[in-house]
């Protein structure tokens, strides 16, 4: 009996200890999310009544498809590029050459500084008076290149901001690799390229995939970078904010409906990605 009571007390204590975390979760995430969902089902500007008109309007609008396509295009292409950048970078850093610590720190820069600062710096650097354009016009004597406020420019900025997730995870996986496997392969007569292609890459593929999920999530939800550097290209997050900031009265129901669509898209894509990721790599 006493034992039973003690067990009960322990369980209650555990629940008490867990409660602040779940109170925070419910109050600051779940409840706001529910408010968003309910708002998206109300007619615009009214507190009563239920309707699907907001969804119908958003999904029926001609611009919607472009917005969603743009969001996915930006996220997917910057994720792919982050893999392309991370693999050679981490392969080089693994050799622990002179100055590798400095470059390890460099990888951390884009995720530690405020996104806004990075965005501003990139705008200045790639702008019409920035160094890239000076290099193109004065040294290469080519016509000026417009990078800011274009889709390729945005992809480049996304890459700058979000590649660290891929790079750091890949680096960690690569450094956990047993070097003797590669040595065995080269002893068996494989050249450097074959070792890389058939031994190293398959072994670090799970790490690359895991990192690229993080990059994708950050890029898909990215808000401050497209807000500052997007110009006329507005991915979902910015389009939602526009509903609140540039309409008077603010279109809360419309914005909420778009938020719900965005959350569903993200969760769906992530679960597909996770399923692919769990599958053994051939």
């Amino acid at each position: 009996m006493a034992d039973f009571l003690r067990r009960q007390r322990q369980i209650v204590l555990t629940l008490l200890l867990l409660s602040p975390g779940f109170a925070g979760f419910l109050g600051l995430f779940f409840y706001p999310m529910m408010v968003t969902v309910v708002r998206s089902l109300r007619p615009e500007g009214q507190e009563l009544g239920w309707t699907l008109a907001n969804y119908a309007e958003f999904l029926g609008k001609p611009g919607t498809r472009q917005v969603i396509l743009l969001t996915f295009a930006l996220a997917i292409s910057s994720t792919l590029l982050s893999v392309v950048l991370s693999v050679p970078l981490t392969l080089v850093l693994r050799e622990k050459l002179w100055g590798h610590r400095f470059f390890r720190l460099t990888i951390l820069i884009p995720i530690t500084v405020p996104g806004l600062v990075g965005a501003l710096g990139l705008l200045v650097f790639y702008g019409s008076r920035g160094w890239i354009n000076l290099f193109i016009t004065q040294i290469l004597h080519l016509p000026k290149l417009d990078i800011n406020y274009t889709v390729p420019g945005l992809i480049l900025f996304y890459l700058w901001h979000y590649f660290p997730y891929t790079a750091l995870t890949t680096l960690a996986t690569l450094e956990g690799l047993d070097r003797s496997i590669e040595e065995a392969a080269s002893v068996a007569g494989a050249n450097g390229w074959q070792v890389l292609r058939h031994i190293v890459l398959p072994l670090i593929a799970p790490g690359i995939l895991a990192g690229s999920v993080l990059t994708f999530m950050a890029a898909f939800g990215s808000f401050s970078i497209p807000l500052v550097t997007g110009g006329n290209y507005r991915p979902l997050s910015v389009a939602i904010y526009t509903q609140i900031a540039s309409f008077t009265p603010a279109r809360w129901s419309m914005g909420s409906a778009m938020s719900v669509v965005m959350a569903i898209l993200q969760v769906t894509f992530l679960s597909i990605y996770m399923r692919v990721l769990r599958r053994p790599i051939a």
């Binding site: 200890l17 979760f25 600051l28 995430f29 050459l97 501003l120 160094w131």
Partner: protein, 278 residues
């Protein structure tokens, strides 16, 4: 034979050159935007085809300081960040302890539920947060903005602390009690020194997250609670590139400081953390 050696040497050199060029380009890719922004913030009469500004000035910083109300805004930012750190840490310590040490059934699932706010794009629930805060009159108060930041910061703090507490060695605690230490003594002399680094790193991450946060701030701030990121965003919108560069430089200094501080203590891959365990 000699020829062969020369040939191999030249290939090795070419490889080395390639690596150096690659790293150089990478460094340029990351740092050049900061450099040119720094120059922009101290440059005067920098028009047209000059690579560096012809004259240097601190006028833009003066502008930022006076017109941009930087002292007031920095105070706001720090108050909000400190409040967010305090709230997140107070939430995370008991919950992290329960997750780390008390054998919660279904821990993986519960932890990923707690981490949901970091998976869903913040803008998706920011609208709900804003509407609730309007109703509760929390818009444009420091505590309100800090609460909104806590939604993002607390999950990560819980994750860091639960793994810190999990790492506590049971045998050391037993040894303490065998040696006759009571609960209070064990806590202050054994547990606290062991978990302090973890708590510290959670505080640093929370602080940086809150300091950089823009999405939730934009939907909950007001005139009295403008933070540095918001102010910089508004300055960019107003089109004064020089003044906003100056502000951005002010904004970036603490994060660089934090970066150099943490890289000695925390393994870089842990920094990805915010999303880990997803």
């Amino acid at each position: 034979m000699n020829l062969l050696r020369q040939y191999v040497q030249s290939i090795l050199n070419a490889r080395k050159l390639l690596i150096v060029t690659f790293l150089l380009c990478f460094g340029l890719f990351i740092y050049a935007p900061f450099t040119i922004m720094l120059l922009r913030s101290v440059g005067k009469d920098w028009f047209g085809r000059a690579w560096v500004p012809p004259t240097l000035t601190l006028d833009w910083y003066k502008w930022a300081w006076e017109i941009g109300r930087v002292p007031q805004i920095t105070k706001n930012t720090l108050i909000v960040a400190v409040l967010a750190v305090v709230m997140s840490t107070l939430i995370a310590i008991p919950t992290g302890w329960a997750f780390g040490r008390r054998g919660v059934p279904g821990k993986e699932v519960l932890l990923s539920v707690i981490l949901l706010p970091r998976m869903i794009p913040p803008i998706a629930y920011a609208l709900g947060v804003a509407r609730i805060f309007y109703r509760l009159h929390l818009i444009d108060t420091h505590i309100g903005v800090a609460l909104a930041h806590t939604a993002i910061c607390a999950p990560y703090a819980i994750l860091v602390l639960s793994s810190t507490f999990e790492g506590l060695d049971e045998r050391v605690l037993e040894a303490a009690s065998v040696c006759g230490a009571n609960a209070a003594r064990t806590f202050f002399h054994v547990i606290l020194p062991m978990v302090l680094p973890g708590i510290l790193s959670s505080i640093i991450f929370t602080f940086t997250n809150s300091y950089n946060e823009l999405t939730l701030t934009l939907l909950t701030y007001g005139v009295r609670t403008e933070t540095l990121p918001v102010r910089t965003f508004l300055a960019v919108g107003e089109g004064y590139l020089e003044v906003s560069s100056a502000m951005a430089v002010i904004l970036v200094i603490p994060s660089l400081f934090v970066l150099f501080m943490i890289q000695r203590q925390v393994a870089p891959e842990k920094l990805v953390g915010g999303f880990k365990g997803v």
